[in-house]
């Protein structure tokens, strides 16, 4: 388990796939021999929260449930929003460019190239819709009930809202946007005819694998950290009202 006393450099040596994750916190390479705790303090990041997220990404079976209550919901929501913006503004365009480059250099008929480009464009649209739904509905909901719980704002309104909706509804409806990604991987691995620039294909495939893993971990954080935290706050708000 990664703890805040070890050097940040060691974390990267241990698992370099964590680099995009630490980037989301605004941390970049070049932190010298500083410990995780020191780097976090330099960037105004809660080091315990940071290590929870890193451990969740690093180790699939990591269940940080006991530590959950220590962190504010605002921290989680901020992190998730930064992750969303990384996917939409950085990763998806990068992958789309790789696909277009690969198709340009291939000898595939124009129509098939268009079908593949359309496939990815549809995926991007689906992805963006999913994210917008979270940012326009769930995150404001989470912020509102946190405001009521921590700062006693809008309690009546929150209480009424909770009669109709709960974070559990979101969890049950939370659908899987990774299917198309999985299909694309298989098409490239198995069915696309061999391309002259196979290094480009390998690079594209590697990006797809990484994105898929990142998205899986992202969903786990939403389901295992965000949802229980908010559910607990909901419960406490409702209990308070009853007393």
């Amino acid at each position: 388990m990664i703890n805040k006393k070890i050097k940040m450099a060691e974390v990267i040596h241990l698992d370099h796939h964590l680099l995009p994750v630490i980037n989301r916190f605004g941390i970049q390479l070049g932190f010298g021999d500083k410990t995780v705790e020191e780097v976090c303090n330099d960037h105004n990041i809660n080091p315990d929260f940071f290590t929870e997220i890193i451990n969740a990404f690093h180790n699939k079976s990591y269940f940080p449930q006991k530590q959950l209550q220590r962190f504010s919901v605002y921290l989680i929501i901020d992190y998730l929003q930064k992750a969303h913006s990384f996917y939409v503004d950085v990763k998806l365009p990068e992958i789309e460019n790789l696909i277009i480059r690969m198709l340009d250099e291939s000898k595939l008929p124009k129509e098939i190239q268009m079908a593949i480009i359309k496939f990815f464009a549809d995926y991007k649209k689906e992805f963006t819709t999913h994210i917008n739904q979270e940012e326009n509905t769930i995150f404001p909901f989470a912020r509102q009930i946190s405001d009521s719980y921590y700062h006693q704002k809008n309690i009546e309104d929150t209480y009424n809202k909770l009669q109709d909706y709960s974070i559990i509804d979101y969890r049950d409806e939370h659908d899987d946007i990774e299917e198309k990604l999985f299909d694309l991987k298989n098409i490239i691995i198995k069915y696309l005819p061999p391309q002259k620039d196979y290094n480009l294909c390998n690079h594209l495939l590697s990006e797809l694998f990484d994105l898929e893993k990142d998205l899986n971990d992202h969903s786990r954080i939403e389901d295992l950290i965000m949802v229980p935290m908010i559910a607990e706050i909901e419960k406490q708000i409702l209990e308070r009202k009853e007393n």
């Binding site: 129509e111 098939i112 496939f119 098409i187 069915y191």
Partner: protein, 194 residues
Amino acid sequence: MNRFKYALAESSFVIREGIKSLLNSYPNVELVEEGNTCEVLSSHKLDNSIDLLIINIPQLKEKDIKKIKWISGNHKTKIIGLTDNVCPQKWDNIFYEIIHINEADKSLYIDLFDKTFKNNPKENQNTLSQREKAILKHIAMGQTNNEIAENLFISSHTVMTHRKNITRKLAIKTVSGLTVYALLNGIVRIEELQ
């Protein structure tokens, strides 16, 4: 070596022979009882656990269902239903798979038995059958399961079974992914798409 034991409850002699001949190509598969539903379900040979029961659905009575549920519950026996028309919805969850015998082609049986015995499919079983390619073409053209069923004169249940098999063989699930595959392999031409 594990022997797979199966029983065949189907009153039609010809259908029984057909199923037996398909199953004969699997090693270590042994028939323990055959006959009509009544004979098979009351046979004491079913008291020892069997791995597979293949049974005719239209001939089933309510009292038979109890016995079948007991068999599948106790012994983790797989139950495959054979029918020549619709299957009553309420019995859906008893069956591992349901085959519409008037429509099912050879590849459907092979895929099903491969799955049942967790056989390593023979090399040519990983490629799509003619039927599956036809269904794939219709999927790529944007048709729903019901539309495909109408166009090919089969039930939508059979269409769904074919789709499951296609997804399993190709490891592609979404319609757009299947469309790309179909285009790459000449199963459909771009002009035929909407």
